[in-house]
């Protein structure tokens, strides 16, 4: 192995601001050789992004950084601000997760890329323009001569990320740091962006530090994987060995908790593995892996959608102004069935779910629950029907009112629906907290005191407390870490079994949909283009859109 381009030794980062305190990175060491693609993988809060920011010294002044970071012979920790500016952008490029916020919304993209060149080079304006066009071409922006004058909002999310990449590689850096570069994007586009990064890496001979939470992704797109947990490196191994030969319990846990498309696992025949991290008094982490058993009482469900139809949506259309987002769509859901709803972002699946729960009103069509028309019944009947359809939202942070304790948050719902007796309410709240696996003391705490997974349990408790028949799950785990995803999916599967619930499960992640659904509907441009039982659909897709989704997921 040649001399490393980047050598990190015993890196520690301590936050000491009002908002965040404590050690985020705890003795991380790794090397990156020139042209190598290395992945830092781990769950939220593990310190991987902090590590990336530390490499560029982009952390707040109140942060204390220890250890050494040697880039091409220079210790970054000892550099002054001027030398750092020389390094950033010129020799080390960076791509962040959210392309929109990396771009200035009021400046044309060509100008923004040219600005990088203006700061770092002596190129004249004509030469700069030529280079910008070249870069846009390189990152495969269609029609560069036209799009050079585009504003960020005129581009798609993927195109915006391409522009950000163009800015990062403008100076032919030796190292490109990409921090969750595709998390905010659709899976189909994810693959394209990663392909682009890989191609650029080879063409430009630069090293790539890829930061991600996504194991299959890093396996495919990096040479070497460094698994991080609690600010410490758990394991470092070549990517090809990640799934097959990883030794570390944590890594194994993550692998088993995540669902892959070709796994032949279904919620009816097995639960997902849950990984639990324990910190012993000496500060070391130990991990236990458990696969919960199927509930003994689980009714053998083979729902028959036709004769016991719970929900029937007929010919509904939903419009935002002139734009028709859901277009003459019909679907049925049997009692006890889980319908997976997949599609690219913007296909109308969220709009459909919001229409079913009554947040939006369709411009045409009907929605029946147990044969009763929800839209055209009187207010009292509509309210009674509505409480039987509940929803779990994607973002567990935004969907809980920060101003209510959990007890109020849940109890108020009962009070509003006529439960006058506070003791009775409290009993109900405790019961539902038990059901979602939260301690009863949670009732006295505020939303922000909980982790993302716990919050999602609260969100599920909120949906459960009115004892609904149908729950719409709108990307309920896509904002959660892999290990937490497994817990939530297991919980949802158990609740379904014990309460006889029906789900409409919306996700962009086909593997999860395949695991969790009885039947899958593929949505495209406001319509359902294909519908079948999960296994058949994925094995023998008939519609082009379905094939595209499956391809992207591989």
């Amino acid at each position: 192995m040649s001399a490393p381009l980047l050598s990190v030794r015993d890196l520690t980062v301590d936050y000491a601001s009002v908002r965040r305190q404590g050690r985020a990175v705890d003795g991380v060491s790794f090397d990156i050789a020139p042209g190598e693609a290395v992945a830092l993988v781990g769950e939220s809060g593990c310190g991987k992004s902090t590590t990336a920011l530390a490499l560029l010294r982009l952390l707040p002044d109140s942060t204390r950084i220890g250890g050494s970071i040697v880039f091409d012979g220079q210790n970054i920790n000892g550099l002054d601000e001027k030398a750092l500016r020389q390094l950033r952008g010129r020799r080390i490029g960076m791509v962040f997760q959210e392309p929109m916020t990396s771009l200035n919304p009021v400046q044309r993209i060509g100008h923004q890329i040219a600005e990088v060149l203006r700061v770092h080079t002596n190129l004249g304006s004509c030469a700069r323009r030529a280079r910008v066009l070249e870069l846009l071409h390189q990152v495969a922006i269609p029609d560069p001569t036209r799009n050079i004058r585009a504003f960020p909002h005129e581009l798609s999310g993927g195109q915006r990320q391409r522009v950000v990449i163009a800015m990062a590689i403008a100076m032919n850096p030796d190292l490109l740091i990409a921090d969750e570069p595709t998390t905010a994007l659709d899976s189909a586009i994810q693959a394209q962006i990663l392909e682009l990064l890989d191609r650029l890496r080879r063409e430009l001979g630069m090293a790539l530090l890829l930061i991600s939470h996504d194991l299959p992704l890093v396996e495919q797109w990096s040479d070497r994987v460094i698994v991080v947990h609690h600010g410490q490196v758990m394991e470092e191994l070549p990517s090809q060995q990640l799934f097959a030969q990883s030794q570390h319990a944590y890594t194994r846990g993550l692998i088993n908790a995540s669902v892959r498309l070709h796994d032949d696992l279904h919620y009816t025949n097995g639960r997902l593995v849950e990984v639990a991290a324990n910190v012993d008094p000496s500060g070391d982490h130990s991990f236990t892996l458990t696969r919960p058993p199927l509930p003994a009482s689980a009714p053998a469900l083979t729902p028959s959608p036709c004769d016991t139809s719970l929900l029937s949506v007929s010919n509904i259309s939903v419009q935002y102004g002139e734009r028709r987002v859901v277009d003459d769509l019909s679907l049925r859901l049997g009692r006890g069935e889980t319908l997976g709803l997949v599609g690219e972002s913007g296909c109308g699946k969220s709009t459909l779910s919001r229409t079913i729960v009554g947040l939006l009103r369709p411009s045409a069509g009907s929605i029946r629950l147990n044969g009763q028309d929800i839209l055209n019944s009187d207010a009292a009947a509509r309210r009674a029907l509505r409480r039987r359809v509940q929803m779990v939202f994607q973002d567990p942070y935004a969907s809980l009112n920060p101003r209510h304790r959990i007890g109020e948050l849940l109890g108020n719902i009962l009070a509003f629906h006529g439960e006058r007796d506070p003791i009775q309410r409290q009993g109900e709240v405790f019961k539902v907290l038990d059901q979602v696996g939260l301690p009863r003391s949670a009732a006295y705490r505020w939303p922000h005191e909980f982790s993302g997974g716990q919050r999602q349990r609260i969100g599920i408790a909120r949906a459960l407390i009115l004892q609904p028949e149908l729950i719409l799950l709108d990307e309920p785990v896509s904002a959660l870490d892999v290990s937490v995803q497994a817990q939530i999916l297991n919980l949802l599967a158990d609740l379904k079994a014990t309460h006889g619930l029906s789900y409409i499960f919306i996700s962009h992640d086909l593997a999860i949909v395949r695991y969790f659904s009885d039947r899958v509907a593929v949505m495209h441009a406001g319509r359902i283009v294909e519908e079948n039982d999960a296994r058949t659909l994925l094995l023998a897709p008939t519609h082009a859109q379905t094939r595209r989704l499956i391809e992207a997921a591989h």
Partner: protein, 312 residues
């Protein structure tokens, strides 16, 4: 990894502008119980509150410290402060005790400032909440209505209102409320628009809450910090407006307020400057304290400044 769905990022960006990317659903980080503690730890708040409490205490104790009618002729006219021990701050053009004036005047000024603000805030919240929550043509109509108020110079309108209806405590309070509600209405509207789009409001609708419950229990508590901050600044401006009205002789003539003291002392500015300087000093200090308080509350409560970006 991020826990922000697109919609919140979108909103956060609109609110914050570029560069402030990672701030998460900010209000979500505010812990209601400890926010009181954080408020009380802010130095600006502490200084502001200390000054205001001191003034408030003087106002409350006014009848004990200077018993009797502050408008009574207490002694010789135009005594300088300290000239006679009985009148530590001197006497005014008619021989009224300046100390009694500023103490009792604090009551009037604070009362007018608080009640006019309260009224303005209530009106503003009602109108702004309806506009921001329901949107559509209701919103358009209300926005036009607010714009009418914004384009009229508010103090001119206030002078006309008070002059037309005859100066009294009630008309002054109503007048100030009527020219200041639009600020709160605008803020309430934008906060309600922002918050209405949040998932927890959708969640509230899904569990069946009606509009009034959602407005009162879900959105308002989250809009409250911004409203409180603005409200504290509004008290200061109400206080100044009352002073300006009284200065122009449009205050309640049966009530001594700081503004009326300045108004009647202004003629003697060249010879007896203390008659304007003393109540003027109280106004300056109070307004300063209210602004400090507002700034402090803003630092602590306003999500746009308070939230930490979480870095993983």
């Amino acid at each position: 990894m991020s826990h922000n769905p697109d919609i919140n990022d979108e909103l956060a960006r609109r609110a914050l502008g570029p560069g402030a990317a990672v701030a998460n659903a900010a209000a979500g980080n505010a812990e209601p119980s400890s926010s009181v503690r954080r408020v009380l730890l802010n130095p600006l708040v502490v200084v502001g509150l200390t000054i205001l409490s001191a003034i408030g205490a003087l106002a409350l104790l006014a009848p004990l410290l200077t018993p009797g009618d502050p408008l009574s002729i207490a002694g010789p006219a135009r005594l300088w402060p300290g000239e006679i021990a009985a009148f530590p701050l001197g006497t005014d053009a008619l021989g009224r005790n300046v100390l009694a004036g500023v103490l009792h005047g604090a009551r009037a000024s604070i009362f007018v400032g608080l009640s006019a603000t309260l009224l303005g805030v209530v009106i503003g919240i009602l109108i702004g909440a309806v506009a921001g929550y329901f949107g559509g043509w209701v919103d358009d109509l209300i926005v036009r209505f607010i714009e009418i108020f914004q384009t009229i110079p508010s103090f001119v309108l206030l002078v006309v209102l008070v002059a037309f209806s005859g100066p009294s405590l009630l008309t002054v309070i109503l007048g100030i409320a009527l020219v200041s509600w639009d600020v709160i209405a605008r803020l309430t509207r934008s906060e309600f628009r922002r918050l209405s789009a949040q998932d927890f409001v959708s969640a509230a609708r899904v569990v069946g809450y009606d509009h009034s419950h959602i407005i009162r229990h879900e959105i308002l508590p989250n809009a409250a910090p911004a409203l409180i901050v603005t409200g504290s600044i509004m008290v200061a401006s109400a206080l100044l407006m009352e002073a300006a009205l009284s200065f122009m002789g449009l205050g309640d003539p049966n009530l001594v307020s700081w503004g009326s003291m300045i108004g009647s002392g202004r003629e003697l500015l060249r010879t007896h400057w203390y008659l304007t300087a003393i109540p003027g000093g109280f106004i300056v200090v109070s307004v300063l304290a209210l602004n400090l308080l507002g700034d402090g509350l803003n630092d602590v409560l306003n999500p746009r400044h308070g939230a930490a970006g979480q870095i993983s």
